[in-house]
């Protein structure tokens, strides 16, 4: 199937075992077929087994699009390997298609020779017509390039559940567990976890738990007993860094990071939030952790969510709000107020396709400039972007520390791919997380010895102002959105004072120390540097590994702190012949780099709602390395290819 196949071991039984380094599986079906759950379970089994993994759930924005239609197709792709991998995989080795729509929507991604497992029960004339198949692809030769396994999953599931007394319809609903059982058998996955999960999930309806377990076992038994499947596959556990691991999604990691931030800052956490895809799961997760002193407030709208969070911060809590791009638009004025008030506030933006409602369930990283500049006036704030699902935890903890120490709103830019994607996560040792003392003001501070409290008298090192919370006697003061007199903090319309305050707020953010940019260039000889941020970390590093394996030299660097940028960034950029910035937008980081460092950064951009593929970036990198890319020579062009199309034409 792929060049990674390393050995075929006759098992002595009916099935040979093929050892592989890595496998990509995609489960695809109707939104009502439970594909996300199936994928999640296979992921858990795989995590428990010890492979490295990365996942890409892909589902429609509609809760239940019309059954059996193309818009209703939901899929879950999982990449697992015996080494550290960085992406959910480009193309599946195995495609499970639960109906004709899932087949039609996904077959284009299956490489020649790929394994296709089809639930034949859904291939009725009516369902085929619904998605525009004139003839049944299982009966004509349109699938002859693939290893097709036709399995009547609904029928087999029904048969397995005959004794349970469940209705035909209820029984058939367990067919996703049949598919999971079959795949679990093919890839030697442990299944205790899934059976335990099903018992817990259906604790109140034990008959359904047993039915699902029966279906799961039936799928397993089907693989073992039928001769249709000649081989099974083994992917050895990955040799990851020693430690304790678990599987985690970006949204869960972000929620845990917020809980942990309550501990590291010693502050009660107050989340003000309004449901929005793909950020709602952070609200759901945090709502479970009240015992950790986390208050969650589901507000009447996005504005109220951030307003309540800011009000809580004024009162001495760690105010947090979680949202996606449209919510950031609504919160902008309040975030600007937080900049003026100079109070801690954590703003989580799980980016999705835009503009406007855009693509709610798809990923994009086009809110960077909005995060940087999307407020009236000069309103700078720190921005941190996690690079992987597990990294969302550390991004949240760090953002909270900066917010508290520098009395400022901080934006964390996650995205849909990180939020719903998952990976094995080396669980951090909670006792090693760095604490931050909020250092509430307790005493009057006026330098003139008047015994007054000056709310805008800054710390000389950090430029942060004192945080005096209501209830502190003698420090009663008023803050607000009107410009403040430097130091004293009363309203000031003085021209020079405004100029000074604008510069002070900027200087405070610029002065936040962030780690220097690390460049990965194993050869030390590269003259092309690829710079990325956020979730493109995985495909960029994977693409770079591929071209290095081909004998090329290339350097990569990942920008985690987007504001302020690392101090050595300008120097790093200047030391490469070519700087290439792949982004899931139309070149927003490239614009910042060009503007700030006068470097002729090249853009490679794509906004398809899906992450970059490693193979795609490999090709882009090769074009730049070999000088065949139209923009690889020094030009004044402000943009790269714009999209993959011209490259495709060249290739």
């Amino acid at each position: 199937m792929t060049s990674n196949d390393t050995a075929v071991t006759p098992s002595g039984g009916e099935h040979d075992v093929i050892t592989k380094d890595r496998v990509v599986i995609r489960f695809a079906g109707d939104s009502g077929d439970g594909m996300q759950l199936t994928g999640d379970r296979f992921t858990s089994e795989t995590a428990t087994f010890g492979n490295d993994l990365s996942t890409l759930p892909n589902f429609p924005a509609e809760i239940r699009a019309p059954a059996g239609t193309l818009p209703g197709v939901s899929s879950f792709q999982l990449h697992f390997a015996n080494y550290d991998i960085l992406t959910p995989g480009d193309r599946p080795d195995v495609l499970v298609a639960m109906n004709p729509a899932a087949l039609k929507a996904n077959i284009g991604d299956l490489p020649h020779g790929g394994v296709l497992i089809v639930n034949t029960d859904e291939f009725t004339k009516r369902n085929l017509t619904k998605v525009g198949y004139e003839s049944n692809p299982l009966e004509d030769d349109s699938l002859s390039d693939f290893q097709v396994h036709e399995v009547a999953m609904a029928t087999l599931t029904r048969g397995a559940l005959e004794e349970t007394g469940l209705s035909k319809k209820d029984a058939e609903r367990a067919k996703n567990m049949f598919a999971l059982g079959l795949l679990s058998w093919m890839y030697h996955r442990p299944h205790e976890g899934t059976e335990r999960f099903l018992r817990e999930k259906f604790a109140r309806r034990p008959e359904l738990a047993e039915a699902n377990i029966l279906a799961f076992r039936a799928g397993h038994a089907y693989g073992e007993t039928t001769e249709a499947f000649a081989v099974t596959y083994e992917v050895a556990p990955a040799k990851l860094e020693p430690g304790t691991y678990r599987q985690i999604t970006g949204n869960t990691a972000m929620a845990y990071g917020i809980v942990a931030a309550g501990r590291t800052t010693g502050l009660p956490v107050f989340l003000g939030s309004y449901p929005i895809t793909p950020a709602s799961d952070i609200l759901h997760e945090l709502s479970k952790h009240k015992a950790f002193g986390v208050t969650t407030f589901q507000a009447e709208d996005e504005i109220a969510g951030v307003g309540a969070a800011l009000g809580a911060s004024f009162g001495g809590a760690l105010g947090v709000t979680t949202t996606s791009g449209p919510g950031i638009s609504l919160k902008s004025e309040t975030i600007g107020l937080a900049v003026a008030l100079e109070l801690p506030l954590l703003v989580i933006d799980v980016q999705r396709g835009g503009p406007s409602t855009g693509l709610p369930t798809k990923t994009e990283q086009a809110d960077l400039l909005q995060a940087m500049y999307g407020r009236n006036g000069e309103a700078p704030l720190p921005i941190i972007a996690p690079r992987s699902p597990g990294d969302c935890f550390h991004a949240a903890v760090e953002a909270a520390a900066i917010a508290v120490k520098y009395r400022t709103p901080v934006i964390v830019l996650s995205d849909g791919a990180l939020a719903n994607g998952s990976e094995p996560w080396k669980v951090p040792d909670a006792s090693t997380l760095e604490n931050v003392d909020p250092e509430f003001a307790t005493e009057p501070n006026a330098p003139d010895g008047s015994g007054e409290f000056w709310p805008y008298l800054r710390d000389s090192e950090t430029l942060a102002r004192p945080w005096a919370i209501p209830g502190t006697p003698g420090l009663e003061h008023r803050v607000g959105g009107l410009e403040k007199a430097d130091g004293r903090g009363s309203i000031s319309y003085d021209p020079d004072n405004h100029d000074r305050m604008v510069r002070l707020r900027e200087a405070k953010i610029d002065g936040i120390p962030v780690p220097d940019l690390q460049v990965e260039d194993p050869s030390g000889q590269a003259d092309v540097l690829v710079v990325g941020w956020g979730s493109t970390y995985g495909p960029i590093v994977a693409g770079a590994r591929r071209v290095r394996n081909m004998g090329h030299t290339i350097a990569t660097a990942h920008i985690r702190h987007l504001n302020p940028l690392p101090a050595n960034l300008g120097e790093v950029l200047a030391s490469y012949r070519t700087v290439l910035v792949p982004e899931m937008n139309l070149g927003q980081l490239a614009l910042l780099l060009r503007g700030k460092y006068l470097v002729d950064a090249k853009s490679y951009t794509k906004v398809s709602g899906l992450p970059f593929k490693a193979e795609e970036l490999q090709d882009v990198f090769l074009d730049y390395l070999t000088g065949t890319h139209p923009n690889s020579a020094d030009t004044n062009s402000t943009n790269g290819s714009g999209n993959g199309a011209p490259l495709g034409v060249q290739a």
């Binding site: 678990r246 015992a291 307003g307 800011l310 001495g316 209501p470 009663e476």
Partner: protein
């Protein structure tokens, strides 16, 4: 799931630290020069509030005023308490976050008819329905003052302003009806110049546990001068002002020529007291939502009959008390479980695996 968290019924200030020290209006006066237009009704309200706050016996540093944008929203600057002059319409959201996270504070919102009913209408109704322990003072002058004289959501139809030279077209809100419709547990109204009536409503609002809406009729001498004069002038006010007191018959007017409010079908009517059996006269009941609503609509917004006093004052679990009780409940449950609030246990979850070095 039951929402009964076994919360005791307590007063609005019962969790706020008190002081025995004698406090005066001066203590509550900040060093900022008050900058409203001469003759602005806000002066009267500010003076009343400065007199009133010391009588609560709570610590000054535990008092917070949050405002939005508009003339009245400058209010917090003039009080020597904690305060925030926030952004247009959003003060109830900020106050909500503050009140939920800090039960030891007395939280007040100062807003106007544009701030609360136009740009901030959504936040107002949700704060009221949630019943967060905060007191909303809605200064209603039926005009936009700070932006120099456009009509507001409480302006009468046909109002000629800079933005409506041929007269405004939209039907106004009735703030009391709106608040009652939004499930407010406390609704009151007073006239800026009526120190006694205003202080009475403010006192009851402060003592009430939950959201309180206090509408204060207030004059804008620049852009809507004399808008409430009929409620002030001795020759007209007796015929128009209907002051209600819980448990007392609703009558008004001069002693020798009293009017009374009676029920006729589904609505209330004003009649000569002498013309009806005293048993027919409506007795005010601040627990009766339907009565409160009917009183809010006693006459159209032409000020023919304007009710002041406390329309509604009922006990209902507050959002913030309930939210804190849930937090405590979760903490108590976790305390009984091993690792219940152990961050490491949370991070580990249920399925971990170890890779040996």
């Amino acid at each position: 799931m039951s929402t009964d968290l076994g919360l005791p019924s307590i007063g609005g200030l019962d969790l706020v630290p008190t002081t025995d020290a004698k406090q005066t209006a001066k203590d509550y006066t900040s060093d900022q020069e008050v900058r409203w237009c001469p003759g602005c009704g806000d002066y009267a309200v500010l003076a009343a509030v400065r007199q009133f706050l010391p009588t609560l016996g709570i610590r000054r540093e535990n008092t917070v005023f949050v405002s939005g944008i508009g003339c009245s929203s400058r209010f917090p600057y003039y009080l020597n308490t904690y305060g925030m002059h926030s952004i247009h319409g959003r003060a109830p959201t900020i106050a909500t976050g503050l009140a939920v996270s800090r039960p030891d504070l007395s939280v007040w919102v100062v807003t106007g008819d544009g701030d609360a009913l136009s740009i901030g209408g959504n936040h107002l109704i949700h704060a009221l329905r949630r019943n967060v322990n905060l007191k909303i003072l809605l200064f209603n002058n039926r005009i936009y003052g700070l932006t120099k004289g456009q009509y507001s959501p409480t302006s009468e139809v046909g109002k000629v302003t800079k933005s409506t030279p041929m007269g405004s077209l939209d039907h106004p809100f009735n703030p009391i009806s709106l608040a009652l419709g939004a499930e407010a547990s406390f609704v009151g109204r007073a006239l800026d110049s009526d120190r006694k009536g205003l202080t009475e409503v403010l006192g009851a609002a402060a003592a009430h546990r939950g959201s309180a809406l206090v509408e204060i009729f207030q004059d804008c001498p620049i852009f809507n001068d004399g808008s409430f004069d009929v409620l002030r002038k001795p020759e007209t006010k007796d015929q128009r002002l209907v002051h209600i007191v819980d448990g007392e018959p609703i009558t008004f007017g001069p002693e020798d020529d009293k009017f009374a409010v009676v029920q006729r079908g589904f609505r209330l009517e004003v009649v000569k007291a002498a013309d009806v059996d005293p048993a027919e006269i409506m007795v005010h009941d601040a627990n009766n939502l339907e009565l409160a609503f009917a009183l809010s609509r006693l006459s159209d917004q032409d000020l023919n009959h304007t009710v002041t006093g406390i329309f509604r004052n009922v006990d209902r679990t507050t959002y913030d008390d309930a939210a804190r009780a849930q937090l405590q409940q979760a903490k108590d449950l976790a305390a009984q479980k091993p690792g219940g609030t152990d961050l490491q246990a949370l991070l580990n979850g249920r399925d971990t695996w170890t890779i040996a070095g």
